[in-house]
């Protein structure tokens, strides 16, 4: 059996299996702790597990701590040669409800690779707002209405939070760039201690797109500068994916239902400008543009 087999029940076009398969391919046999969420639901039904590696789903908010426990047990039992410990957790599990245990795991320096599968909302339960939902996005708990034009405020900066914990390897990735995911997962394993990779992962239903557009749209997030692909080693920015001709954010927003209201709402224009400002800021901060 493969590490993450066929037979999972993800929606066609979902980014999660792409992210998971590429990470596992890169690092080989390992221990997986997975928080409650889409990935768990599509892969761990009793009697139909899609996992070819030892896998534990515990709760929504404690995958980081469960992974820390596995790591500690392997150390105590002298079984560190069996493979690394990896967490797959969604954006809500990471940035909201599970941030306490995640901070604890970072802080204690457990040798764990933490992958945040960032599809920018609670997608398993039908697209509710999380701390990683981007500005202006329409979700069922920050719906676009007369008063509120979608998600107010910015996306939580988990990369900065990981860096503030002195996590030795921190990176972002995107399902549109699987080779890059594999390289980063491999590179991460060269560091001892916690490692954090946040992978932008398409959700066809939550974002309101067709399956065949999943990858092109994920790529647009990078090409507009909204999802910069960056890599930090020991706190230093060592690599960024440069953008040849940065595209305007409208190109990314327009094809997605979750942003469509911005093109009609009286405040929409202002918000699109704000989103463009975020992209420009990213470009300046990380030097995304090819001169």
């Amino acid at each position: 059996m493969k590490y993450f087999g066929s037979g999972h029940g993800a929606c066609p076009g979902c980014g999660l299996p792409i992210a998971v398969k590429n990470v596992l391919e890169a690092i080989g046999p390992c221990f997986v702790a997975n928080s409650t969420g889409c990935l768990e639901i599509i892969s761990s039904q009793y009697g139909k597990s899609a996992w070819g590696v030892p896998y534990i789903h515990s709760l929504f908010e404690n995958a980081a701590a469960v992974a820390a426990g596995i790591e500690a047990a392997l150390k105590a039992l002298g079984r560190t040669d069996e493979g690394p410990v990896v967490v797959f957790a969604g954006d809500g599990a990471t940035a909201d409800i599970g941030i306490g245990p995640l901070s604890g795991m970072f802080d204690r320096g457990h040798d764990v690779l933490y992958i945040c599968l960032d599809n920018e909302a609670y997608q398993n339960t039908g697209n509710q707002q999380s701390g990683l939902t981007p500005t202006g996005s329409n979700t069922t708990t920050c719906p676009a209405g007369k008063l509120m034009p979608g998600k107010p405020g910015p996306k939580k900066d988990m990369v900065a939070i990981a860096l503030a914990h002195k996590v030795p390897y921190v990176a972002t990735a995107s399902v549109a760039y699987p080779k890059d995911i594999r390289r980063k997962a491999k590179r991460a394993m060269e560091f001892e201690g916690p490692k954090y990779i946040q992978i932008h992962s398409t959700c066809v239903t939550g974002w309101g797109i067709e399956g065949k557009l999943a990858i092109p749209i994920a790529r647009l997030a990078v090409e507009t500068g909204l999802y910069p692909l960056v890599e930090y080693e020991n706190g230093k920015l060592v690599r960024v994916r440069k953008i040849k001709k940065r595209k305007p954010v409208e190109e990314y927003l327009k094809p997605q239902k979750r942003f469509r209201h911005l093109f009609k709402h009286p405040k929409g224009h202002e918000i699109i400008e704000e989103i463009q400002r975020i992209a420009d800021e990213n470009a300046a901060r990380f030097g995304l543009d090819v001169e």
């Binding site: 896998y55 426990g69 039992l77 069996e82």
Partner: protein, 390 residues
């Protein structure tokens, strides 16, 4: 080796002898010194190949042990009160995943109002989680109970978390002479943990699946069956302990077996006092006896029914409430003896660390014997107070 030690030490030393692989905790009064003693042992290299982790919260602590236990480690934590409640989501999960984590709970009341003192409301709130619960009378009993807890929890017929409940302050902070166990004795009694299944890349398994309505119920029924089987396993283990240690603490309940008209049921550190009072009353010719309730989950209904078969009245000293119903121990006692014609007196005492003086215990029992009080639930030791309804 007889030594005068505090309750924390009697726990920590016993845990060390059980050679756990992972210990994880977060400090909380009055449990803290248990983990402080363990941390000290760890710092001094006395815990062998054990990993000791100070978690960022009790929630994290229980979660770390879920991972560790699933990976095949023998695991221990100690907590109490708000900490236990903060762990509760994880502990339900640990029980459902059949992970034999051993927990010492230094019983403490729950907020609000905030109180750091002792009663049993915290552990009683975990009643239905699928965790074995035993209440100890003194620091020797808690010392002896820990190897037994691991042995029962890790038995393949059981595989459930085991919570040893000891009264906060009253036991944790008390100095008592304790006959500290030897490594040889514990080694001969408790084999290393050899889980039937574990997370390993050599044989990849999926833990914590989700279950559809077609399968969920069977998992829960299996847990219930495991709790039922735990009764027998506990009987075996308690008996074996009496043989190897020379100390017989009884079974799920402990009583004199002499028979009486009135029985008093008590748990935890209150037992010693009640025993004293009951002895005195017997000397005065009253037909009264004590039942020490050791196990609360699984609840020893058969044993109680048998012990109470000749009684006409039973007093339950309760240290917790089930707001809007009867207190938890009373409910189980009543259900155990429903077919017997026995009046039940549920006397709630000592909430939030309120002192339970000898006179109060004596007077309360006498009132029942003398028929001066109606069956049912009564607070004892409650002051006059005015309830302001705004």
């Amino acid at each position: 080796m007889m030594k005068v030690v505090r309750g924390f030490y009697s726990v920590a030393y016993s845990v060390k002898l059980c050679k756990p692989n992972v210990i994880c905790a977060y400090p909380i009064t009055p449990q803290t010194e248990i983990v402080e003693r363990l941390a000290e042992m760890y710092a001094n290299g006395e815990l062998g190949d054990c990993e000791y982790i100070t978690a960022e919260s009790e929630f994290g602590s229980a979660s770390i042990l879920v991972g560790a236990s699933a990976a095949g480690a023998r695991t221990f934590t100690a907590t109490c009160s708000q900490g236990l409640i903060l762990m509760s989501e994880v502990l339900w999960n640990a029980a459902g995943m059949r992970l034999p984590i051993v927990i010492v709970n230094a019983n403490r009341s729950l907020s609000a109002p905030l109180s750091i003192w002792n009663d049993h409301q915290d552990s009683m709130a975990m009643r239905d989680a699928g965790i074995i619960q035993v209440y100890v009378e003194n620091n020797q009993e808690v010392h002896d109970m820990i190897p037994q807890a691991f042995k029962v929890a890790e038995d393949r017929r059981v595989m459930l978390p085991f919570m040893v409940c000891m009264d906060g302050y009253k036991l944790t902070h008390a100095y008592e002479p304790v006959d500290l166990l030897s490594q040889e004795l514990v080694d001969s009694f408790l084999p290393p943990y050899d889980p039937p299944v574990k997370l390993t890349t050599k044989d990849p398994l999926t833990f914590g699946s989700y279950a559809t309505p077609a399968t969920y119920m069977e998992f829960r029924a299996a847990m219930h069956n495991a709790m039922e089987r735990a009764r027998k396993v506990m009987d075996e283990v308690f008996k074996e302990w009496a043989e190897v240690s020379g100390r017989n603490w009884g079974g799920h309940i402990a009583n004199s077996g002499e028979g009486a008209e009135v029985y008093v049921i008590a748990m935890g550190s209150l037992v010693g006092l009640v025993r004293d009072v009951v002895d005195e009353l017997r000397k005065d010719g009253k037909s009264v006896d004590l039942i020490k309730l050791r196990t609360f989950r699984p609840f020893p209904a058969d044993e109680l029914r048998k012990a109470l078969s000749g009684a006409s009245k039973v007093i339950v000293f309760e240290r917790s409430l089930s707001l809007g119903s009867e207190p938890p121990v009373t409910l189980d006692v009543k259900s155990a003896i429903q077919k017997l014609d026995i009046d039940v007196y549920s006397l709630v005492v000592g909430l939030g660390g309120r002192d339970v003086p000898r006179d109060l215990v004596k007077k309360s029992i006498e009132e029942v014997i003398d028929g001066k009080v109606e069956p049912g639930m009564h607070f004892r030791g409650l002051k006059d107070y005015e309830e302001v309804i705004v």
